[in-house]
Symmetry: C2
Subunit: 204 residues, 2 copies
DNA sequence: CTTAGTATTAACTATTTGGTTAAAATATAT
DNA sequence: ATATATTTTAACCAAATAGTTAATACTAAG
């Protein structure tokens, strides 16, 4: 045996299929057979490459939660001015989620259903973004650049407005009769609407 | 046979148990045995009262989605002034969700996973709140009472900020080290923080 | 008390589903 | 070409799980 290339078909097709099925149905609702079918391979091959459902899910979930989070940190922790930071956070975060609209609900749902899976990862990897952002806001308040606002609430407001529409997407589309394209447009607007809305509220 | 009272124990205990288990694990993750255990009865009794899992779920889901929605309409569609309306919506809606923090994620998740279950209900029952609220906002803009803002985005902003924290609750608690009580406090604050935040942004 | 309907259970069945095995096909090295 | 390792499959297996059945306990009416 020599170097085994892992960029080949079956192994990769399985990962893509697993992602699709897990995102759509969640851990509890996903069937190994569905994944095999989606990948166009025999079910036994799943277990050949990834020991069991648990392990396979863990991989998908880890990738998903990493994608859901840490890139935020780069923006939030950067040294740019507050208003610019808010603008680029909203814009970039929504942009990321547009490429994977299922991601937020998938991650948040699984965290709710199996908190243990997330707990360790949280205490380890993340000091969590928060601190630096909070400091910056407090600074701006002290300098009377913005009104006195609660940094925690401001932060939660911002991510709520960015993320929630993806979670409520099907419901929004149904209730307002939007189609896929109109939803995309709507979220494109939000990239600028949310920052405007926030800044309008806190600026002096 | 005479009048059958349905306010008795088993039947009710099952509904309570089913609600608990479905809320916690979702349709796909819930086990009939879990529900039976939780209700302290034999599994066969579940099928005696509610033919099958599907039917039982349908009941719980219908009640949940009714609770998640329509009471909003009363506030949103009422004739009170805009700012008051925003205030009472946020306050009352958060208050409702505090009594049932699992509700938003449960409903939104199941709507995502089985959109068909919701579609009919939407086209039928609800003209959806929207219209009257939108009209009122456009009016206030025309009268130069508030800045020109997109009613749709304003509406989504408001419900995002109210609902999202419940969906992200475990994650928020983990990442910030909140306990149950602190979360409650935080949401109590939001009942006034969100309206302040919104009004500050749109007022002239 | 007896009877007829109702509630409840233990035991069972059928199906779904995650996982295994052993053999076949395919590729790789010598 | 032959041997060796890797990939892939068909056929199974065992556990889990929704749903059934037939018998038993319970309740209320006459």
């Amino acid at each position: 045996m020599v170097n085994k290339k892992k960029n080949d078909t079956a192994h990769e097709r399985i990962l893509i299929a697993a992602k699709k099925v897990f995102f759509l149905k969640g851990m509890a609702g996903a069937r190994m057979q569905d994944i095999a079918d989606e990948a166009g391979i025999n079910k036994a091959l799943l277990h050949y490459y990834f020991r069991n459902k648990e392990k396979l899910f863990e991989l998908i979930f880890k990738e998903a939660s990493n994608q859901f989070f840490p890139k935020i940190a780069d923006i939030i922790d950067s040294d740019i001015p507050l208003f610019e930071k808010i603008e680029s956070f909203c814009s970039e975060y929504i942009d990321m989620m547009q490429q994977n609209a299922y991601l937020p609900l998938f991650v948040l749902n699984e965290v709710n259903k199996q908190p243990h899976r997330f707990r360790e990862r949280f205490w380890k990897n993340r000091e969590f973004l928060f601190s630096k952002f909070v400091g910056q806001i407090e600074m701006e308040i002290k300098n009377r650049k913005i009104k006195p606002v609660s940094p925690a609430h401001l932060f939660i407001n911002m991510i709520s407005m960015c993320i929630f529409p993806f979670i409520a997407k099907p419901m929004m589309m149904m209730s307002s009769g939007m189609d896929e394209l109109q939803f995309r447009d709507f979220m494109d607007q939000r990239k600028t609407e949310i920052p405007k809305f926030i800044i309008e509220s806190i600026k002096r």
